[in-house]
Subunit: 349 residues, 4 copies
């Protein structure tokens, strides 16, 4: 195969544009010899689940899926019936970036709430909680938050606790889309358990793809009885891997010797470097606090296409000319410096 | 991670219990360096699709999914609306082994037809084709066949052609679940194109997982216009991989230097060896022609649990005490001899 | 409006081709004056539900829907999750005549069982009950039977009891599609309760449209806790009538002064007259016992189109030239004599 | 049946709390004699459809459903595939009052737009129209508006034309939820055709229940080819009436001798009387223009429960203490005077 792309080796488009961490690739190779029963009834899967128990404590239920959309949709499906609704940010990944997958698969309504720096507030949840007991109205069942948020910010512990309390007081559940939960935990100086279970999260989409694995996601139930039907839901939702050992082995590696933390710490640190570098450029304004591995900046509209000649990235809010740049486990300071130079040059015009 | 399984290194439970072919693992590693745009807009994916065009000819549309259920369901979804039906064998994988995924996702009815040696016949399709134009009746839209069949047999070319003709004469489509299409093509002495497109197949689920890849499946449309909405369907159906390059790289390797053929030829040959070995055992009767990589045998009921002490495998038809044994790219003659000894011993009682 | 149809005033095509019983029309008119709160929170609805309690006993939950398909699908939806399956006759109305509505709305698989004189047997249910606990397999959850059956026969009490026992012993439910439950109860000499609840039926689709009402159906839960979410399911499934009082008033009238019984008794008696009349015609053979209001006959193929010049009716099994003729609350002996003459004439050739 | 409700004969809770217009009841009775083929293949249905053609012109396709939710959902289902989206007001009936039926049945996303006096603006539609061609994003397919709006206002012709043009320029469709289209046409001094088809509406939910019929709704396609699959969709969506003649007869009557217009004119006129009466009450403020048959008023919070002792009605916007009062074909000036007295008394405190 010939690669003709003229782009730099590494960009800042997304943490899922990075490849696979070497320790993960080795784990896959190590899991290869011999035959294993398919669909998860194998030693690698059992071992990986034990790793989750080491991190999150006992009495959990863990299931692997192929991707984040699968993990999110299946989490919601396990918690809902079709006449119920899910409250989330109007910028939530499940609301804007999954092509309607949650609605299609659960039959539920997703209720978009205004966000503040990427976070939904207790006030907005309270406002959306109405029509209870009215058969004409989808019944609120789940609050779903993304951590880190789609604006690169991080919910503080007491913010999550308040949402969990609101939910639990009303027979609702708190789901956390943790595509970047590692970056959040690192940002908050917490363990994975402190950042999720201990705050009242009921179900976690635990992401690995954005933190150096090849592919796969885990759904973690902190009340195992909620996962009673999950094996069937996963199979029917086309998220059951036959050669499960290779997803399991990746998560085992990610949760071993703090690889999850090392990758996230590095990415977060690189984001702070990036923030510093581009903040110096006149006309570039960082618009949300850099609390994890993403930097969101308002840049002159004319510069966007110019930068894109060298680097692919996403415009986050078109109307306001806000763009997103993400750091990953393999971003280098040198990558950032070169990128900042291109930005500076483009902005100058 | 400790592996405590006392089982032999390789068994005959399923070709998806095998690991990953070394050439596939190498291809994954080769695709790793640097960043690539996610979701399929990358050089590896483009290159893999070219490989498909080399094998199947131009004017096709190729999409990668995570697994066979995903490929099958998405194929059907692209071809149907919810009030239509899919005709298939009552032993078809889509009918019996996907936990109702096709019905859930397409809304369609699957009409089970009696099979003959694993194959549906034109007569049974013709019998099921009725109620046309009657709004009370799901309207037949797709004929779906599995090649190799769930009984290890292989449709002959003229059988597939006849089904294709029947379908096309009525505005219907022919879908082929090709989880083991490589084994079938080898069995028939055909190229991949001769075994599918040239016979009138409209959409193909092209399997790799049972032929040595780590994970992934491809949906191949031989009339690209049928795939008009496929990108959206795939995303909404949670089958869009972010690090797509790693699925693409596997398929590129599988379609390079005849790896698909080498693996299938070997597996098929091993099945013939297995057939020969177990046919010698009194009380063991091979029930369907061994035309590819599976051997289905009726064995004394008492022997099943005994064999299972050493080897995991699936009982295929409980009432008739028929079991399934599958060979894969890595099965050795030695594996088979040891297995046959265990069977012989168990059958003796 | 001009009616130009040259057909006889009343035919034998279906009991739903009849109009509305005068007592029902009067009940509608009586319910008309003044305003009533919509959607079922009105005195007429409460009063009709009391009537159901008089007939079926206390501790039930009753909900009105628009039609039989709605009642059936909603019954199944209340009892299932999408990865489960429903066991029913391969001639069941839910399987063959609802255009896949149950599959589309519940996501479940319907498993067709062979029937014997229209009835599913315990043996066939037992055979279909497998794959329990296997995530690849839709999990059996409901047995659904039709009473009277689609072949005009009537399940005996002990047959229903056996199916109910089988279901309940396995955590499953028994649903009864009672589009013609009145005809069955009359045939068996039972009350409505004896014919349903007392036999172990869990949920009943109680039909009125085929017994003289204008339109509407009732879902009756004999374990009210199963209906916990039903108000939401009904609304979301588009089966909630705004002017509910008019459906309620019809059911109140149907359950008053034995109107349900009078209509069904008459229709059943007319079917016996019809049976007698056509049995005399050489070449006409009644193929299933006439146990309720339908007569199924095998007639010379050439006669079908001739009879259809005068009377619309349905060919039930094309291959065997079996047709269906139904009597209704308003069928007269004179209607039958005239019809039998036309049949005799047509058969003669 | 005993009616013990102490409420006044007629209230102002909703136009669907009214009963059936005498001319409609007579039409039902007239359609009763004799048998008719079920499911719409009858002379009454053909005749009613001709009436629609008289009003809306030739080359239309008309289908009856049971209720408004059915008509709306089926309209959307005919126009969409599951990965598409529907743009509508965040107060649209389809968005807030159908318990998620559109999402469940179509699989589509409904995108809520801010409304201005109940209407969505071209600007808000334009803002929501983005992500085109991006597989991660539900693709906008339908603009759905309600006429009269949920705030009792009426879109002007040029507003509808502008939305239609926007839609058609982008391969989208304009759906009109016409639960109260009669009131709107009367308000605008238009024929039914002028108020819909001539403005570019593609599919119309034509309501009757709120204008004096017993039950039923019509879906009218102004491009018949869009209805190609509608018979199947209607059946599968449980909206096919067996005794269709009785829905058809109602619509025939509604469209005969201007009954639709007489009912709507009266209701609209009564709303103006109501507006006048309550505007005199200090502390009561009419919040949106009274353009049809609804009056929306902000009233002192303390008065709500007091009024409710005598009259049931809906609080429309809880936070702002805005309530809704609707007039119907049978509202009398006397009803209004008595109601206004109760309001005045309650407001006084």
């Amino acid at each position: 195969m010939e690669k003709t792309s003229p782009r730099p080796t590494r960009g800042l488009a997304s943490d899922n544009n990075a490849g696979v961490h070497p320790e993960i690739l080795e784990a896959i190779a190590r899991a290869n010899p011999g035959h294993e029963v398919a669909y998860g009834d194998d030693a690698y899967t059992r071992s990986a689940i034990k790793k989750f128990e080491e991190h999150f404590g006992p009495d959990i239920a863990v299931f692997f899926t192929f991707n984040g959309t699968g993990a999110n949709v299946l989490s919601l499906q396990a918690l809902t019936r079709s006449f119920q609704s899910v409250l989330c940010s109007d910028y939530a990944h499940i609301y804007t970036d999954e092509c309607g997958a949650p609605e299609k698969h659960t039959g539920c309504k997703l209720i978009p709430l205004p966000h503040q720096d990427g976070k939904i507030t207790l006030a907005s949840v309270r406002h959306a909680y109405h029509g209870i007991g009215d058969e004409h109205h989808s019944q609120p069942r789940v609050i779903s938050i993304t951590q880190c948020t789609e604006m690169g910010t991080v919910y503080q512990s007491e913010e999550i606790q308040a949402l969990a309390r609101f939910a639990h007081d009303r027979g609702m559940f708190l789901h956390l889309d943790g595509a970047r939960i590692a970056n959040a935990a690192v940002s908050l100086g917490q363990t994975l358990r402190q950042a999720t279970r201990d705050l009242g999260v009921d179900v976690l989409s635990f992401g690995g793809t954005k933190n150096g694995i090849l592919g796969g996601e885990a759904v973690v139930f902190f009340q195992p009885e909620l996962s009673h039907d999950f094996l069937y839901l996963r199979k029917q939702s086309m998220q059951l891997a036959s050669k499960m050992r290779f997803i399991a082995a990746q998560f085992e590696a990610l949760l071993t010797k703090d690889l999850w933390r090392r990758g996230a710490e590095h990415a977060n640190r690189m984001a702070r470097v990036l923030e510093k570098e581009i903040s110096r450029i006149p006309g570039v304004k960082v618009v949300w606090n850099v609390e994890a591995n993403g930097v969101f900046a308002q840049i002159p509209r004319h510069s966007i296409e110019k930068i894109k000649k060298d680097y692919f990235f996403y415009v986050w809010i078109e109307e306001e000319s806000i763009v997103r740049w993400m750091c990953s486990f393999d971003t280098t300071e040198d990558d950032i410096r070169k990128f900042a130079e291109v930005v500076a040059e483009a902005v100058r015009g």
